[in-house]
Symmetry: D5
Subunit: 139 residues, 10 copies
């Protein structure tokens, strides 16, 4: 099966558009090139969104990320740029993109950017006690 990097982001119909719900995706394999030195940069991207009519298709998201492999990109710019592309493809109610770049010059840099659909408001948050996984095991 021939697969290719691609800037095309495929989507599918949101199966439950009547409800605001949260999709969380982690893409641990992002790499691009430093525009100054040409050396590889690495990041983990975390995508959190509340879909409207469309959801991001998983495999196409992977191909999209691959498409940066040979492109030069600054940390702050590429995070915002990817967010814009994802917004253009899915028009979500809410979307947050978190990029955690691998250490450079002894300094760690993460970037977080958000988009909100005009007029969209989140339902008031219901705050419950949060439990770690298996917090009631013992031993």
């Amino acid at each position: 099966m021939a697969t290719q990097p691609s800037k095309e982001l495929e989507t599918f119909e949101n199966p439950y558009p009547e409800r605001d719900y949260h999709i969380h995706m982690e893409v641990p394999e992002f790499t691009c090139l430093c525009p100054k030195t040409g050396q590889p940069d690495f990041a983990t991207l975390i995508l959190d969104y509340i879909p409207d009519q469309k959801c991001v298709e998983l495999k196409s998201l992977k191909m999209y990320m691959w498409s940066y492999r040979n492109e030069g990109a600054f940390h702050e710019a590429v995070t915002n740029h990817i967010l814009n592309d994802l917004v253009a493809a899915t028009h979500p109610r809410f979307m947050r993109l978190t990029a955690k770049f691998y250490v450079r010059g002894g300094i760690f840099t993460n970037v977080v950017a958000e988009h909100r659909k005009i007029g969209w408001q989140p339902a008031p948050h219901v705050e419950l006690t949060a439990f770690e996984a298996n917090s009631n095991t013992r031993g």
Copy 2:
């Protein structure tokens, strides 16, 4: 003892309906099939709810989860569908279902969906210092 997978969700009477309280359940053994490839998918489901007149019975919840073992189901759809079934069975004041699906194509996907009873409002949250278990041990 013959047990069977079942779409039937059994309930019992909420013993303290006069109080809004929080029930948290972790179901680490959910598995279904990918509708595209037929291959098994795996998830951990986390159910948080505030019961009204009915609570979900533990054993029947397990049988219900088992019932997905041979069914095809997309991540976003199945999370919302299970939430709907749980709401239909218990009519809770509040319910949140979190599905953490095992990695596919190198990407992690979690889905979180909520239901609120019309007119129900949570009591204002009292924020206390949170302590990890045994945070005052030393050694």
Copy 3:
């Protein structure tokens, strides 16, 4: 020294009733019996409260917990029942009881219940950066 399990909860005078302050206690040794099968159940109880005129005495709390050792009790009911007993003994401004039951049928269940004194309001919360213990060590 003869000690006995006891449903009696002893209290002492709150030494600083002029201030809303938070007492957090962890009771990792709760055990009772399953009313259906008679088998032992185990839980860790976490008590968070803001005292009014009375505080729970530590040793009597331990004896109180011991008193459930040979009693049948459902998860949801016993959590609310213990909260009621603690409220009846201390009439706190605020009390939250968290019960983390050991896994049954492959499913984890935690229950959280709260009581608030009528008319009591918490001071607006001051949110500071939270640090893990020893977060400035290195090595």
Copy 4:
């Protein structure tokens, strides 16, 4: 160099009183005596405060903590008492003292008390994504 335990808390001038900022200190070596049995008690104290005109001097804080080594003190009372002493010495805009006492009778007890200067209000909190240290390393 002769050092002595001391109830005297020394202070220095807040170098940036024009700004509300947060000082966090951890004192892992608090010990006093149980007033009932005379046996040693141990705690870790955590001090969080927003200074006004004065800051607590580190070395004097250590000597102050030492001064409890041979005194009897109940958990709830000593936490509030130390908070009062620190407030009397520094008149902070806000101060929170957290005492995490070592396990007694199989039960863990922590106490949290706060003081706020009359009329002082915190600036509305800006909530940012929180990252664990080095969250962008990999390996």
Copy 5:
């Protein structure tokens, strides 16, 4: 390539000034001298900011931090001073500096200071379920 410590903080144009987004940087290699004893002090600095027209350049930030290596500086003062320098260089919409100093006299000290541009307001926060990295792995 000759590099030098420098108090000069270089900046670059914010590539997406039309959006409030969050930049998080960790500088684990800060060291200065104790003004009293001349001995070295060590800290990890954490910078969180929402840029306006300018972003801090990574390499110059490193040189700036290096410039403290032979200077005497108190914990509370140096944290506020560095924040002021960063604000003067970038005029951010929001900036928070967290300094975690290595243990002295058995006591841990962290300092957190913030700056907000006059008239700037954060967008209301959208609270989503937070997941630890790879929270859906198993094994």
Copy 6:
């Protein structure tokens, strides 16, 4: 289904007696009584063994552990006693029982006891690099 505590340990035929292999079981719900004070004691038991002709049946192991619920037992004695019972029931090639008792008097106590079949020798250990679960995730 009526279940009962029982000192009877049931076994089943080892399905692969031709091979030395390792069975590890964790029993986090052991409780007995302190012979001096009558108060409950709690422990997690960890059983590691290399079966010979017989394996311990899981459900009967649970009933066996339950049988200590109302018996007085000292830490050191009960660990050795349980090991003896397990050895008598299964005649293993090797067995190690680890008992981790909950804190008493501010002191933690664990006990580890082993049995080896006369003449049995373990195959020379092949030491491989040990990896934590999912040590190759990133993010």
Copy 7:
């Protein structure tokens, strides 16, 4: 692409048979049925081996694991059986299979079984200091 569960284990030629080296694979998605109750069982399998002339092909290993989805299998037996199948397919110099089964009846069970080629001896182990990933970060 039609994929199917299969008991066939595919292999490929070991590219470096002249060297004893270690391959570690984690299969977190094993599920079979309990032969007694018919209910699903879940495990994480960990395979460590030193290949001789053949290596296990990754995709076929996944299909092989899938083939147990509708089969009844006891913990101790299935671990040894899978090891036998893997040995039959690859004739490795050394192989260790670790199966970590999800909790049943409140008790955790893991099984570890090994195979060694007759006459094969591991090179004497060179013991170096082991470091956790990123153990030299700070912050």
Copy 8:
């Protein structure tokens, strides 16, 4: 009940002297004074031993540790001295004392000392796969 610090270490008869078994005790509340400055020092002591005819009594061990509260003691000397006292009281087959002292001058110091009964040999160690507690949970 009047308790007193005491240099007397009480013992009881080893209930299973026919077997070499391992007792592990953690004493997280050791404190003494620095002989140079008079300031308090803090440590966690870890005792591992294989008893011969006698075991250390838990409560007396606690009183013994208390007896150092007002004594000056150097790290290296006090660790060896306590080991000698424990050996004199119990004549164990093997004993290891680990003292982890709280940080001083920015440097951490731990001390480990051992005693072996003349002529005693440990049984050859059987090395099994070690599992973390609840390593087979998921979620």
Copy 9:
């Protein structure tokens, strides 16, 4: 400064060849291509070696790793191949290369390969108690 990927591994003279000592390096940014699908693969490489006359130069190691960015490589083969290149460049007394590849098909794969200089023997290992970093902090 123009940097380039390069298969050339630079070395420098071992400054202490009279002593067997251990160098540990972590390279978290390895990426190559899957020879079958052309898709990117990712790994963390861990290099442990005892140098003889030459040490690997850090920057050249980075360029060497970069050189795989556009090459197809199987997991087992590339690990052994890189080890061979490192051995050819440095002729170490001992070298171990550990490659931790990111998850594929839901399965994790790590590969560990070693080289030993003919006739070289490690000094008998001195086994000391191992402490986690800052294991004597408390709080």
Copy 10:
């Protein structure tokens, strides 16, 4: 009190030379300069040794470490050099120095070097079950 960096390492008489025992020290504040670029380097040093007639004095060890603050030093060379200085000062039976350098060029480097007194042999190691601190807490 005027303190100064110093290459002089002070020692004191080993209080228990009749016994081989282990002293572990962590020095998290080592910094020197890169000989090529002049930029600061940072490391955590870990010292493990079995003293003969002399022990390293803590404060002088700190001053010694300080003395590298303005010196150029390569990772491999400085680790061996410090070990040599410590050996020259204390003539230990055994000494191991572990240096964990902060990340450079995206790569982590640790160095471990040892010295053994000629003719010295460690006592055969007694291998006991190792427990994490407070491994028997629950909650």
